[in-house]
Amino acid sequence: MPRPPAPKSKAAKASGPPMGLIGAVTAVVVALVAVLVYLAARGDGLDASGGANALPEGGGLVVNPDVENVPEVIVYEDFQCPFCGQLEQTSGETIIEAAEAGDIKLTYIFMSFLDGASGNESSSRAANAAVCSADAGALPEFVLTVFEQQPQEGVGYEDQVFLDAAESVGVEGEQLEEFTSCVEEREYQSYVQDMGERATENGVTATPTITVDGEPVGQEQMQQLLSDPTSFESVLAETQ
């Protein structure tokens, strides 16, 4: 009589989970999480619309879109950054005058990475209000006026500041109503996010930054703009 086959051995297996397996599983899980974070956070393209005078793909708000063959100046600011406030107070008007005289093409790209500092997403809301103000045709003056009211970093703006600022630069009637609902409903929030990403994509990682035809204005010249209201012309000439 033939012997029955021996029962399969259970003890032959090494006990406990083998380190190789743990390592492999860990590596796969980590890679998976990394990919998920990447997919979730990479954004869905810069396709939000920003209303009047807003360039596509988060390209910012143009003050004077119709000029040609002049240096293109882009001002990157966060409404909560103290040095942006100082820049606007010192050189904001000179820069706007240069745009109105047709000497430069002026674009604002508003970043909102200081949102976390205020607890009420103050930078985003201010940037949204600025996009709304462009719809009302009040863009550069509105930006200047809001920066004049800039609270201490971390305190944040109330919506009322934006409404008052719009009124003080002459937005009224139906336009004021539209502006108000645009601010309260944060109509351009997606565009505001796109501006932030566009700024990073342009290599701008801090505010205030000014570029002339894509070239960033150097530290020294930025210091001049922050301290001397008449320096913009010479800085522009040096940077070109």
Binding site: S15, G16, I22, V37, T205
Partner: protein, 179 residues
Amino acid sequence: MSATSVSESRTAPEGGAGRRARVLDLVGLLARLVLGGVLLVAGYLKLVDLDGAVRSVVAYDLFDYEVAKFIGLTLPVLEVAVGVLLILGLLTRAAGFGGTALMVVFVAGIASAWARGLSIDCGCFGTGGPVAPGATRYLEEIVRDIALAAAGAWLLVRPRTPVSVDTLLTRRSRYERND
């Protein structure tokens, strides 16, 4: 090498070799917790502000935006993972290698920013980007990262540490094997 110290610590309970092994054990534990803790905190601070993490990488001005974005979004996951493994003492040798590799890359990045005359914060703890020209702390950042790389290298050479999941697992399997 680690096998010798294991037997030493078992067979010489009060001798000099046993004490030496215990000291080495403690150094390893310290290396694990310091490197793991720093990586965990650094990764966490980036995960809660991923846009900031991407900006930090962009500020090095080394990669195309899409590449910088990929690094900025995935690096914090890697840091947290290596940090957790080190704190748990799981896969200690591999995690020590991972930690060392990360630190070597960081040192290279910081050195390159320094050499090119950039004025940036390393962004190691999620607050990267330009700083005033006089406010860079490259040397300090590099020294710190080299010390952390050394901690990782220690674990790569001598991964056996007390209070670790690795020890629990090897003990269990040894026990079952003898059973």
